[in-house]
């Protein structure tokens, strides 16, 4: 394959097949927004690469130009060209129609997972020392109250988890509690989903509001047990001299 345009086309198609069909064999399917992003990058990369020099530009853009002007295209090529000119607007029309036609699918959402906590929860510190006793007590409470959703292994795969969307947080993922401070967890646990600010979409979260069930002391200990069990440590601003 010598023609750069063909190369770019193959690369794009290959990338699409990889993202859309091959990768999902190993992990969850990618959302369309992400596939679009990666394809756009691939397209940009091939354009940049093939148009770097004058000769490259001619190889890359020449066929496009000739196709548009119809220069030297007769017979099958000529008919194909006319066909493309007919089909392309129809494709665009169809795409526009499917985008605009009313449907019952809710719009794609951009929920803010970690919105800013209210001022009164900022800067609180866990009042309990990190002793084995406290951690064990926290884990026990966790097993009783949280594990049905967040899972006995702290991985968000509790027996009740499949019932919720968004699902219960996976604490062993580096993107959840490892990013947060203990005070932040204290707020989330105490106030639950309904306590989220609007950008956190409180109406979506199934996280219960624990302030009426659990005393503060228990919450602090659960937090300790949670971090220990998930093998994560809370975000801090000063280095701790423990252990």
């Amino acid at each position: 394959m010598k023609n750069p345009l063909a190369k770019a086309g193959i690369l794009l198609v290959g990338m699409y097949v990889f993202l859309k069909f091959i990768l999902p064999q190993f992990t969850a399917p990618l959302p369309a927004s992400l596939i679009f992003l990666y394809l756009a990058l691939t397209f940009a990369a091939s354009t940049i690469f093939f148009t770097m020099s004058g000769a490259g530009l001619e190889d890359f853009m020449g066929p496009v130009g000739r196709f548009l002007t119809g220069e030297g295209q007769s017979g099958i090529a000529g008919t194909a060209r006319i066909l493309v000119f007919l089909v392309f607007p129809l494709l665009v029309g169809w795409q526009t129609y499917t985008k605009l036609a009313p449907s019952d699918a809710p719009p794609a959402e951009n929920r803010t997972i970690h919105p800013a906590p209210p001022g009164e929860f900022v800067g609180l510190a866990n009042p309990f020392p990190k002793t084995q006793d406290n951690i064990m007590m926290g884990k026990g409470l966790y097993a009783a109250f949280c594990s049905p959703c967040h899972g006995a292994n702290f991985d968000g795969k509790g027996p009740a988890a499949p019932g919720f969307n968004p699902p219960p947080a996976n604490f062993s993922d580096p993107g959840t509690i490892a990013q947060l401070q203990e005070a932040y967890l204290f707020w989330r646990i105490k106030k639950g989903g309904v306590g989220l600010p609007i950008e956190g979409m409180p109406w979506k979260s199934a996280m219960p509001r624990w302030e009426f069930e659990l005393p503060d002391d228990w919450i602090w200990k659960i937090i300790m047990g949670e971090y220990d069990g998930a093998h994560q440590s809370p975000r801090t601003w000063e280095e701790e001299e423990e252990e």
Partner: protein, 625 residues
């Protein structure tokens, strides 16, 4: 008139108002209408109790948004350009090369023509603020008045210096050049002051400090030294150079596209190169400065930090990643095209390394742009089990972002080194060794950055931030600091195999320069919005609440529309200014232009081969042969 202020707010500012501006009014009334004194004071108090005024249709906040953004962009240009104009002048002076002096003068011309408009917009902004936000302005004046005076003095000095610097350019040549250079130094010194004083007002709004008792000067000084003042100063200083560099590059790009003669083409090709070079080199340390700023924000107030980085403003950083990505690509594209076009016959031999760099850049960009929580439809989210992708979600966190931005900086730097070495053959005996050492350093450095990045997932955040991220930055800096002088040494004795020719760049190179400038402007508008909306519903964070009807954060789409509008307006404004400023050029082209590019291939290295487009000693070498 909107005055829905809470009682505490009224109490907090009213007494202060009485001391300052009200006294002026009282004197006035006392003199004119002594008998009605009591009534007069009432009326005055009433006038002063207006907290907000509005402008119909567009709304006060939107108007201030536009005017402030225009002023800031102009100011960024006006304060950034003198830095490199001055450096360029020094280079010309030390290397005795008129090309640089001429270029420095051309930069200064753009600066001078934009200066008045900048001040004009500053004036408009001030009037609008006084008129539309009297409550806030009364409070700020009360705190900062002494610094207002300092600002005025600095402004006077800056203006005077700029006039002498610009109009004295030709008069102060030869043995008077030293004086001119000194003027350039003063110009930059005052410019720095002009930037950091208002920065303190804006940063005080975001991160106010407790003001004890003391004289007015003491209080103003305490307020100025707020936690985000210096991080913003440094960040803006660097960003201004970037803005200035890319705008000058775009100017050269447009002039290049319009050029009629060979001389003009050569000159503006070269100027475009220098502009891009300045922009890129300014950009390399910028992420580090931004990182420092964010750290200070977090440390000052976590809530604000989270709002910015994880909360509803987090999407801005995805947009930021896209814009910076385009900028990195644009800058590298320009470098690579430079190799292909300015060094004839080299396109083929550099294909492979360029492809490798491109792939690394793209992979990095892909990681950088992947948001932590993805935009997904309900069905997609269900399949992923939430808005975090189980595999790609790992790209969303800081450790990944820091790693790829370091790698992108490294690649861009290597792009430049490659450009510098293109078309030359090292002759030094130790060249092989040096190159091997550099290659090994690069490989080890790159791997180390990646290893630290991956390891960063498994250590507590504080360890990552304090040690790993810092180590990554130091590795990249170390490579830059060792490679630059080493390459300079290598190039000193190198033989030129292919001469660099100017004025051959294709049309799209000119457009690439313009694109870069537009991206930088968009980027600054975007981050300007991020900075000021991180205060959310506060005029002064935690101290003075915004009680106007605009005390809400605009939706991101709305904000994005304003950023685009601001970018568009600024481009229009700058095009107009430059068009006016260069109208004369077309008439008196002849001598000035001709002298600039007497012999475009004669680029002797002197002190800064890097800036000369990486073709040192071409002239001398060819002469010797």
């Amino acid at each position: 008139m909107k005055s829905r202020g809470t009682v505490e707010n009224l109490q907090s500012w009213l007494p202060k108002v009485k001391h300052s501006s009200l006294s002026g009014w009282s004197v006035f009334w006392v003199l004119l209408l002594l008998p009605a004194f009591v009534w007069a004071q009432d009326a005055a108090t009433q006038a002063m109790s207006v907290e907000y005024r509005d402008i119909p249709w567009i709304g006060s906040r939107n108007l201030v948004w536009i005017v402030a953004q225009q002023h800031l962009l102009l100011a960024g240009f006006v304060l950034g350009v003198p830095i490199f104009a001055w450096i360029c002048e020094i280079v010309g002076w030390r290397s005795k090369e008129p090309r640089y002096d001429k270029l420095a003068k051309e930069f200064t011309k753009l600066l001078t023509s934009a200066y008045a408009t900048t001040a004009l917009f500053g004036g408009i902004l001030l009037f609008l603020l006084i008129g539309l936000y009297p409550k806030l302005m009364a409070y700020l004046s009360d705190v900062f008045f002494p610094s207002f005076i300092a600002y005025c003095i600095l402004f006077l000095l800056e203006t005077a210096t700029l006039y002498i610097y610009w109009y004295g350019w030709d008069a102060l040549q030869g043995n008077k050049k030293g004086l001119h250079i000194f003027l350039g130094f003063l110009l930059n010194l005052f410019a720095l002051g002009i930037m950091i004083v208002p920065n303190s007002w804006a940063t005080f709004q975001a991160s106010p400090v407790v003001l004890g008792d003391g004289t007015a000067i003491e209080r103003a000084w305490t307020a100025m030294q707020n936690p985000t003042w210096w991080p913003v100063n440094i960040h803006r200083l660097i960003a201004n150079v970037v803005l200035g560099g890319f705008i000058c590059g775009a100017y050269a790009g447009v002039r290049y596209l319009l050029a009629q003669t060979k001389e003009e083409k050569d000159h503006y090709d070269w100027m475009g190169y220098v502009g891009n070079f300045i922009g890129v080199f300014g950009m390399l340390p910028l992420p580090f400065a931004g990182y420092w700023l964010m750290r200070e924000v977090y440390q000052y107030n976590q809530q604000m930090g989270i709002t910015l980085m994880g909360g509803f403003l987090a999407w801005l950083f995805i947009l930021q990643a896209m814009l910076i990505g385009v900028l990195f690509l644009g800058a590298n594209y320009y470098f690579w095209m430079g190799i292909a076009y300015r060094i004839p016959g080299s396109a083929q031999s550099y294909k492979r390394p360029i492809l490798a760099m491109l792939v690394v850049l793209m992979v990095c960009l892909g990681v950088w742009m992947t948001p932590h929580s993805l935009v997904a439809s309900l069905a997609e989210a269900q399949l992923m089990g939430g808005t975090h992708h189980p595999l790609l979600g790992v790209f969303g966190v800081m450790s990944a972002k820091m790693t790829v931005s370091n790698l992108m900086i490294l690649v861009t730097f290597m792009s430049f080194i490659m450009y510098w070495r293109a078309g030359k053959q090292e002759t030094a005996a130790w060249a092989k060794v040096a190159k091997a050492v550099m290659g090994a350093l690069l490989a080890i450095g790159g791997i180390a950055v990646v290893v630290l990045g991956v390891w960063g997932y498994f250590v507590p955040a504080i360890i990552r931030i304090n040690y790993f991220s810092v180590a990554q930055v130091l590795i990249v800096l170390f490579i830059m600091v060792t490679f630059t002088p080493l390459t300079a040494l290598l190039m000193k004795s190198a033989k030129t195999t292919t001469e660099m020719v100017w004025g051959q760049m294709p049309i799209r190179a000119g457009y690439a320069l313009v694109l870069n400038a537009v991206m930088v402007i968009l980027l600054m508008s975007l981050m300007g919005y991020a900075r000021s909306s991180s205060r959310v519903h506060w005029h002064i964070y935690g101290v003075m609440r915004d009680t106007s009807e605009y005390a809400y954060s605009p939706a991101l789409g709305y904000a994005a529309a304003f950023m685009s509008l601001n970018t568009f307006l600024f481009c229009l404004l700058v095009s107009f200014i430059f068009w006016v400023a260069t109208m004369g050029d077309k008439v008196k082209k002849g001598p000035e232009q001709g002298q600039a590019a007497e012999d475009p291939t004669k680029i002797s290295g002197g002190v800064t081969p890097a800036m000369a487009g990486g073709a040192p000693r071409v002239g001398e070498e060819t002469l010797k042969i």
